[in-house]
């Protein structure tokens, strides 16, 4: 009798879990689908990979050789408030009409020691970095 009672309780518990999962599946609307078209992904441009490497290795000389002053100033603004870059991740790139956007996420610390992540995008035209967002 006791084992039958235990089995019944276990069965109702498992039945509850199944019911909960089913109710979630039926009621969850999920994220609204993207109604706009998406561009195909592009490979990481070599020129932006070099810049990302210079940033992650703290190589100011390489950066100054790779970018002109205007783009360097845009990059400085884009990575604020990071002062100490500890990680650099290429997250994706797209190309349209000869213009490529290569996106990166930099991780590190601010001047007061707070850990932050900062996203920035290098704009490339004809194998040259023409801007930073």
């Amino acid at each position: 009798m006791n084992s039958a009672r235990a089995a019944l309780i276990l069965a109702t518990f498992l039945g509850g879990i199944v019911a909960g999962v089913t109710i979630y599946a039926v009621t969850d609307k999920g994220a609204e689908a993207n109604p706009y078209t998406s561009l195909p992904r592009a490979a990481e441009p070599a020129v932006t990979a070099d810049v990302a490497r210079a940033l992650s290795t703290d190589d100011a000389k390489a950066l100054s050789n790779q970018l002109d002053m205007e783009v360097l100033q845009q990059l400085q603004t884009a990575i604020e408030p990071l002062t100490d870059i500890r990680s650099m991740k290429f997250v994706g790139a797209v190309e349209k009409n000869g213009r490529t956007l290569a996106a990166y996420v930099a991780g590190g610390r601010t001047s007061d020691g707070t850990d932050v992540l900062v996203g920035f995008v290098l704009r490339v035209t004809g194998d040259q970095i023409v801007g930073v967002n």
Binding site: R5, L8, I9, L10, T12, F13, L14, G15, G16, I17, V18, A19, G20, V21, T22, I23, Y24, A25, D28, A31, E32, N34, P35, Y36, T37, S38, L39, A78, K89, V91, G92, A93, V94, K96, N97, R99, L101, A103, V105, G107, D115, V116, L117, V118, G119, F120, V121, R123, N133
Partner: protein, 142 residues
Amino acid sequence: MFGLNFIPPLVRTALAMLLVGGLMGYAGTAFTTTVIADSGILGGGGESSDAHKYMMALLKREADSLSQLRPAADVVSRALEQQNASQQAQDVKPLSVTYLGGSSSGRLSVHIYAVEIQAGSGQYQFFPLALTIVGGKVVRVE
């Protein structure tokens, strides 16, 4: 209490188990699907649902949805946001929205999109947007 004494103990226990199991199943599925969707394990590239909602609201100029996804702001700031949204050019047509990727660390995450738009005057723009999200709220848009 509450008349539950009229229900036999076995039925009471079974109902309680059904309720507990149901809650566990519902909450567990919600948690698991959110974690899997945000990690990108099953495709989708790890796009956060908050980032996705924000982008859709931004492109559709839904000021109310945008303010819900931003940190709490005072009434004047919210009024300014509403005014900005209504004053933006209504004839801007988004051509494409591409999720490039993102990264997260604890409650902080960064998600980057590429957007193509066409203004009514024919002006074409192709630009990126980086969203910084902390605890489900978009705290920075660049």
